[in-house]
Subunit: 588 residues, 2 copies
C-alpha cells in the first residue's frame, strides 16, 4: 500500500494520526533545524516536516530531494504553528518518521507551476510534465465532468449511447478524409469518419429513436490554432421530432452543463434567423455579450454626391457608445487602418463623432451637414459622446467587415465581459452555397439537411438565384460568438434526398455509389428525424471563457499535425508497405 | 409534434385520453368490420383499431398499410375487450380518428421479429432492419447501460476519463497496426492505436492518478468470428497502487455491473495462479461453472509396460461423474475421435469406466489390473458410475488437449449452466514467451509489464530456461471461461524498462526510436502504477451468456473486414492518392 490518504485529504480532525502519503516533491526548504517539503499529487499539497533534532539522518536525506522526485513518507499529523489559509490542508503538517524515494527526477525543462516558463513546443514535447500543472489538471477534470454530466442528462432523456464505426468509407463530399489502407482488400481504403452523420441517420431508420455518442471525428485539413485533425463531438439524433423538440432538448443539456459545472442558471436562449444575424451583426455567430447591432443608411447616405456611398450596394454602421471623448482622431485613424488590413479588406472607414459639447465631426462633413448627420444619429439612437462607424460597398462584404469591426470595437472597449454567458440559437441557414471556382452548389450544412418544407417546391427551379435563396431547417448554437454546435432536420424521403444530391451536382450513379445504403434505407420506412452535434473541445474552452482548445485536449497535435511527444507521424517499415501493396512516391 | 406518447406508454389509467402516436406498422389484421394494426417503436407495441362502421374511408386506408410503413395516428385510448397480458400496453387500444402515412416501406428482405429468417450477410447488409428487431435493440441498450454504469462507478472512485489520441505512431511490436498516411508529412504515417497503453502510462507520469476511458482500439489481424478490426475497451490506469488495489477496484466494477444490469450479487472472486490454472485446467481462462480439475498420473501410469505412458512427459486426466451408464462405448469412441481431430491433436484417449455394478472397463486393461485402476480412481475421488478420461504426451500439449476435452465433456453433459456466473482472477502470468520461429522472446502481456519484484535479478540470466520461468505481475479476469480483461503492474524505472526491451531483442537504438518518449518520461519522476483493460464487446456478450460479440456492436464488419452495409473499404480517387503521394501497386 502506497498511501493511506492523498495529499489533499488531511485536516485538523486527523491530528496525531499516523498516515502514509505518496507524491511529488513540489519544493524543499532547508531552514537549518527543520526541512519542509511540499508534497503534491492530483488532490492537493501537504507540508512535510523533517526535524534535525529528532532524526538527523532522515533530515539530511530530505534535504537532498530534488524537485519532482517521487517519494513515500509515513509520519504523524500535527498542527502547524504557521497555518496557510489558502490551502485546504494548510492547518496541518506531517512530521515524517520514514521516507522512501520511489523514483528520482531530472530537473524539468520548465517549472511545474500554474504560470510556467515553457514555450508551446517544449510543453507539447514534455506533455507529461505540462499536465502536472494545475491548470491542465483542472481542464482535463473539467472535460471529464462535462462528459459525465452530458451522459447523465441524455440518459435521463432516454438517449442510448451507440458506438458507430471508425473504419468507414471515403466520400469526396465535404472536407478531406484521412484514409486507412486495407491489407485484406488490397487497393482499397477505409476512411476515418468526419462525423457519424450517415450512421446516426441509419440508427433512426433502425428504430433506436434517440441516439447519442461522444465520439472522435477526423478531418485532414490544414490546421489553424483552433483546429485539430482529431476532435470530439457530442453527437445526437432523434426520430419523430420537429426542430422545436431538438432545440429544447439541447438547450436543456446546455443549461444543465452550465448549472452543474459553472453554477450558472441560464435563462431561455434567444433565437435569431441566419438572415437577421447577418443583417444585424454580419456574422452567423454573433457575440451578444454586447449589442452594437448594425443600422443601414442607404436612404440617408445616397444621393448626396458622395460617390463611394452612391455606388455602394449597402451602407451600414455601428454605434460605439460614449467613446467620443475617449477616442482621439488617432484612435479613429487606427481603426481605419485596422479595417483596411487585407484580413478585413475594407476600402475605408467613415466615422461620425457626436462630441459631448454638441458639435459633430465627421470624415464626410463635406457631403453631409450637421442636420443630415443628426439624422444618422437618430437611426442609431446615438447621443452626445457616441461615435458612428460606417462602411459601404458590396452587401455581403460590408456585413462581414462590419461584423469584424464590431468585434474589434467590443474588444477595445472591453465589452466581452468574462463570466457573462450569452447563448443564441441561429436558425434557418441557407440550404446551398454557390461556389464560383467549381461552378457548383455545395451544401451549407451537409447534403442530408432538409429544406424548409414551404420551400421544397422551389428546389425544382432552374434559377440559380432562387436556389441560393432556399433555406434549410438547420440551426447552430452560439455562445459568446463561438459556434458550439449545429444540426438540422434531415431529409427522410428518398426522392427528396435524390433531388438534393442532384442540386449538389451528383449524378444518380455517384449518389448511389457513395450513399446508396442511405437511399436504400429510406425505402424501408425511414421516420422523420433530426439531430445536432456539439464540439466537445470547444464547448469546454468556451465554458471557461477560453479560446485555445488544445488546453482541453490531453495530447493535442501541433499545427503540422504532429504529435511532438511521441514524434508521430513517422516512416513505417518496408514490410508494412509491402503487406498493404503501397509505394511511397519518391519526391523530386 | 409527432407524438404525445411512445408506443410503450399507455395504460388503463389513460382511458379516454386523446393521444398521438408514431411508429412502424408491425402487422395489420383485417377482420372485416374492424382492422387492427400493431404499432411499434423502441418502447413497445400499441394496438390501433379502425372501425368500418365509424369511418369506412379511414379503415380502408388502414387496410392498405404494409409492414414497416411509418405512420402517425391520433385517437382515443379505450379498454380492450380481448386483453393481452403479455404486453405492458395490452389492456388498451387506440380507436383511431386520423391517420397519416409518414413514410412507406418496401417489403423487408427478412422478417422484423425476434427470430428472423435472414442470413448473416443479408442481416449485415440491411443492418438498419436487423437493428429494428427486439434482440438487437435490447443488446444495444444493454451495452449503453454497461457504459453508463461503468462511468458512474469509476467516477465515484475518482477516476478521470481522458481521451487519448487515435492518430499515433506505428510500432512493429505486438499485432499489426492499421496505418494512416499523413498528407502534411509526405511519406510518413500515423497508426491507429491497438490500445492507449503508453498514453495511459504517460498520464500516470503526468500525475492524473486515476485514468479511465472507454475507447476504440484497432488491430489489423486476420479475423475470426469473435474478432473485429475495431473494438472497444474499458481502459484504466492507477498510480501509487499495488496489484491488490487494482484487483479490488475492478472486481468492484464487475460486481457493480452484474448487480445493476443483471440483478446478480457476486461473491468475492477466487484467484488462481497461471501455473495452477494450466496444471489444473489446461487453460489460462478456465471455465469454473464446473470443476473436473486435472489429476496427474505419472507415478501410477508409468513402469507398467504401457509404452505410450512410459514415454510420456505427462499423464493426466479428468473424471466425468456419473456418466458410466449414460455413455456407451460409442460415445467414448466418439470422444476419442474428437480428441484426435487435428484441431485438438491428441494421439488417443485412454478411458476407465467404473461401472455402477462395480466392474471396471478400460482401454488399457491389458497393462493395468482392477487394483491399479482403482488406484487411479482414488486419485480422482471417482466412484461407481464415473468415467476417467486420460491423455498423455508432452506436458504443454497434454494440458492444452485435456483442457479442450474438459470443455467438450462439460458441453456434452450440460455443465455450463446458463445464468451461472463464475469469475476468476488468474495471476502471475509468465513474463516472456519464447518463439522458435523468430528465435526470440515476446512479451506475454506487453513490453511494459513489470516482472515479479522477487524475480528481477533473474532477468540478468543468460539461461533461456531461467528467463522462460520468469513471472510477471500480470492478471486476467476470466468469467465462465472467457477472458474479460487483463492488466499488469507496469515498469516505472527506466533501467528496468531498458532491460526488458533488451530481453525482447530491441537494440537500445530501436527502443529509443519507438518508445523514447516513455523512457524519457520515466526520468522525470514516474510513480509506481498499473492498470487493466476490459473488452467491452465481450463483456456485454458474456453478461448475457452469449458468444457472438457482433450482436453487441451496432455496425460490425464481416470476416473479411468489410462493412457490408456501406460497402467499405473501397477504392479512392486518384486525386486522394496524389495528395498523399502514394501509389497502389498493380497486382500481377
Amino acid at each position: 500500500m502506497y498511501r493511506t490518504h492523498d495529499c489533499g485529504a488531511l485536516r485538523l480532525t486527523d491530528l496525531n494520526s499516523t498516515v502514509t502519503l505518496s507524491g511529488w516533491v513540489q519544493i524543499s526548504r532547508d531552514l537549518g533545524g527543520l526541512t519542509f517539503v511540499d508534497l503534491r499529487d492530483r488532490y492537493g499539497i501537504t507540508q512535510l516536516v523533517f526535524n534535525m533534532d529528532t532524526d538527523a539522518a532522515l533530515c539530511e536525506h530530505a534535504r537532498k530531494l530534488g524537485r519532482e522526485f517521487v517519494i513515500q513518507v509515513t509520519g504523524t499529523v500535527q498542527e502547524r504553528s504557521n497555518k496557510n489559509p489558502n490551502r485546504p490542508t494548510g492547518d496541518i503538517e506531517i512530521e515524517v518518521a520514514t521516507l522512501k524515494v520511489l523514483n528520482s527526477s531530472k530537473t524539468p525543462p520548465f517549472t511545474i507551476e500554474t504560470d510556467t516558463d515553457g514555450g508551446d513546443d517544449l510543453r507539447l514535447k514534455y506533455r507529461y510534465l505540462d499536465i502536472r500543472r494545475e491548470p491542465l489538471q483542472r481542464n482535463l477534470r473539467f472535460r471529464s465532468k462535462v462528459t459525465i454530466e452530458t451522459r447523465k442528462y441524455l440518459d435521463q432523456q432516454e438517449f442510448v449511447e451507440i458506438e458507430t464505426p471508425c473504419l468507414i468509407k471515403s466520400t469526396p463530399e465535404g472536407a478531406r478524409d484521412f484514409v486507412v489502407p486495407s491489407r485484406m482488400n488490397p487497393g482499397e481504403f477505409y476512411a476515418l469518419p468526419q462525423s457519424p452523420q450517415t450512421f446516426k441517420q441509419i440508427l433512426m431508420v433502425a428504430g433506436m429513436d434517440r441516439y447519442f455518442q461522444i465520439v472522435k471525428c477526423f478531418r485532414d485539413e490544414d490546421l489553424r490554432a483552433d483546429r485539430q485533425p482529431e476532435f470530439s463531438q457530442i453527437d445526437c439524433e432523434m426520430a419523430f421530432v420537429t426542430r422545436e423538440d431538438i432545440l429544447n432538448t439541447f438547450e436543456g443539456l446546455t443549461k444543465h452543463l452550465y448549472k452543474e459545472l459553472n453554477g450558472i442558471t441560464l435563462p431561455d436562449f434567444p433565437r435569431m434567423s441566419y438572415d437577421d444575424a447577418m443583417r444585424l451583426y454580419g456574422s452567423d455567430k454573433p457575440d451578444l455579450r454586447f449589442d452594437m447591432a448594425f443600422e443601414e443608411l442607404n436612404d440617408l447616405g445616397q444621393g448626396r454626391g458622395f460617390g463611394i456611398f452612391d455606388g455602394a450596394q449597402l451602407i451600414a454602421g455601428i454605434c460605439a457608445k460614449g467613446v467620443a471623448d475617449q477616442w482621439s482622431n488617432k484612435e479613429l485613424n487606427d481603426l481605419t487602418d485596422w479595417v483596411k488590413r487585407p484580413q478585413i479588406g475594407a476600402q475605408g472607414l467613415v466615422y461620425v463623432r457626436f462630441n459631448t459639447d454638441g458639435t459633430i465631426k465627421s470624415t464626410v462633413g463635406k457631403f453631409f451637414d450637421d442636420e443630415a448627420l443628426r439624422g444618422w444619429g437618430e437611426r442609431f439612437g446615438a447621443g452626445p459622446g457616441d461615435v458612428l462607424l460606417v462602411l459601404s460597398g458590396e452587401t455581403d462584404k460590408v456585413r462581414k467587415q462590419l461584423g469584424e469591426l464590431r468585434l474589434e470595437v467590443g474588444r477595445r472597449l472591453g465589452l466581452m465581459t468574462p463570466g457573462v454567458v450569452k447563448p443564441l440559437w441561429v436558425l434557418d441557414f441557407p440550404l446551398l452555397e454557390w461556389d464560383d471556382d467549381t461552378n457548383r452548389f455545395y451544401a451549407m450544412h451537409h447534403p442530408f439537411t432538409a429544406p424548409k418544407p414551404e420551400e421544397i417546391d422551389k428546389m425544382n427551379s432552374n434559377d440559380r438565384e432562387v436556389l441560393k435563396g432556399l433555406h434549410a431547417d438547420a440551426y447552430d448554437l452560439v455562445i459568446n460568438g463561438v459556434e458550439i454546435g449545429g444540426g438540422s432536420i434531415r431529409i427522410h424521403d428518398r426522392a427528396l434526398q435524390s433531388k438534393n444530391f442532384s442540386l449538389l451536382g451528383f449524378t444518380p450513379e455517384e449518389a448511389e455509389a457513395q450513399f446508396g445504403f442511405l437511399l436504400g434505407a429510406f425505402e424501408y420506412g425511414a421516420p422523420p428525424h433530426g439531430g445536432i452535434a456539439f464540439g466537445l473541445d470547444r464547448l469546454c474552452a468556451v465554458m471557461n471563457g477560453q479560446n485555445n482548445i488544445r488546453d482541453y485536449i490531453a495530447f493535442p497535435k501541433n499545427n503540422m499535425g504532429r504529435d511532438m511527444m511521441i514524434d508521430a507521424p513517422s516512416r513505417i517499415d518496408q514490410g508494412q508497405l509491402d503487406e498493404l501493396g503501397l509505394d511511397v512516391r519518391v519526391r523530386e
